[in-house]
Amino acid sequence: MPEKINSSNLEKARAAANKRASLGADIDLNSYKIPASEKPVNTDPSKLSAKDKGKMLSTGVMLDDPTQRMGTFIQIDNTPIHYSAKQDGVEVMAISQAKEKYDWFGDYWWKAVAVDTDKYTAHVELNESNGYFIRTLPGAKTTFPIQACLYLNKVGAIQDVHNIIIAEEGSELHIITGCTTSLHNEPGLHIGVSEFYIKKGAKVTFTMIHNWEPAIGVRPRTGVIIEDNGLLLNNYVAMKPVSSLQLNPSAYCNGENATARFNSVLVAPSGSSMDIGSRVFLNGKGSRTEIIARTITTGGEIVSRGYMEGNAPDIKGHLECRGLILGKAGSIHAIPELKGNLAGIDLSHEAAVGKIAEEEVEYLMARGLTRDEATSTIVRGFLNVDIEGLPPLLNAELKKAIEDSEEDMF
């Protein structure tokens, strides 16, 4: 990467080192340790401890069955410990390796997310963070997903991650990212920057499952640039306790007929604070978006945001935020926002926060289900956002995760 770009990023990061984020509680970065970012090593992931593997499996990362994946990346704290791709036209490596390998790397570095967005992005830059570089070459199509796991392992530490995902023209890329931790009640902070570049006619399905613990802070920062006829299907699932989780990814549909779809499924148990949104900028003629968020609080606080902005002719977008309050405590604040900057565009939203409709419960009871069975069927349905492009095994895992969290609800 040219020295000049590098130093300008560093300068901006230094200037933003104390810049508070516009959303979410302010986290004091100085109260955490920063584990060293070691040189990537390539170990056999099936040799990880059963406990770690089990934890990773709960986020959809299956390390014991290589037939279900086309590539794997694992980073523990700040050091990549495994990277592999087993399909032609698919590249999986550590960011530090891609930086050395490609002289064009700078064209994708801090181009979808601004380095000086806030102190979290600045922290990632200032600590020379590692992360994954995943790329499909033109026309390549992953049959099974690439699995990536970001694992927070050190007590009281910050995990800094910076990922780059590039789908070259006409390619198809499926990624499952599981983020989790070995910690239980100890503090930790995960900061993850992800930059996506979806070229002409390319399709990316990105499924991220977060499985944190009660004292963990989480601050992902994501930007997605989509060219002509490109497609992003972004699925996000967070159903376990977390201290403070705030993310608000931005997708820029810059190309003609570019499409971005966001599905989010959230369950906030007592003590958890989740501020989750999706932003889509429809800048290309005929670009499309759909944002669907299903949220449940069983005692935690949820802010469910959605923002879509129409800046080009013939764009279309729909936003749906639905929330259920199932605990005695807890709150859901739905904030759907639409902004149209020219005539002839089509943006709409629907939002609902409340309880399970008694009429639906009675309907199921009239078929012989008890009140509890009826309620749990409705909740399962509520969370059952159809997630496209998931392999069956993972879909089953996801369903199981939903059922598990259901057990905690009732």
């Binding site: 639905r322 409709a357 009429e359 639906e360 009675e362 309907y363 199921l364 009871m365 009239a366 078929r367 012989g368 289900l369 008890t370 009140r371 069975e373 009826a374 069927t377 409705i378 399962r380 349905g381 509520f382 969370l383 059952n384 956002v385």
Partner: protein, 255 residues
Amino acid sequence: MNSEKADKEMLLDIKDLVVNVDSKEILHKVNLSIPYGETQVIFGPNGGGKTTLLMTIMGFPRYQVASGKIFFKGNDITDMSVDGRARLGIGIMFQRPPVVRGVKTRDMVAACLKKDNGEELISELAGKANMTDFLSRDINHGFSGGEIKRSELLQLSAQAPNLVLLDEPESGVDLENISLIGSLINNLLGKVHPIRERTNSGLVITHTGHILNYINARTGYVMFEGSIICEGEPLDMLNTIKEKGYRECVKCLRK
């Protein structure tokens, strides 16, 4: 009449039933008995209490029994929950069922079936109801009038109740679908059933009487202002009502 005792001959036995909805008395001392294996129909103008009667038999909490009893298979079910009644063998076809997002038609049929590994039977029943393409859709979401009827009858055919409560099963159904709906109801009432061989009973609300071409009903009632005012042979009654309107029934009451 002793309102505290069930008639063992009857599948359903309603004694002096008084029902309030939102603290207003809607049904006044209704008596009605359905023998095992018989289907009965209720006529009557809108607002006369027909739907209230069906909803009360099913046990929806909004319909409050102020006095009187409902016996089913000899059990006093007056205070039984909706699901308890369903499991005991009462099934209802909803007129305007709610959309339940994320819950598939298949899930509903499976819930009605109450057994595991029912995939084959679900497919078979769905085929008969011409609902195969709807199995993986959210229940009732974007369904047309006829599709709702078929979906309801599909669920009921899996539930296989002994008493089927049908509220205007032919309303909103186009001519193409009416004979299918008719034959599904006929199956439900127990002529030929995939799960068990037995003859069931039905209580059917109808305005048009079209459904009488497909089911074999022996007894008809006219319900008017919350009371049953007339009992007779359904087709005769329908002809009288068509000719002279419900005014004739009211006159009959005054006699």
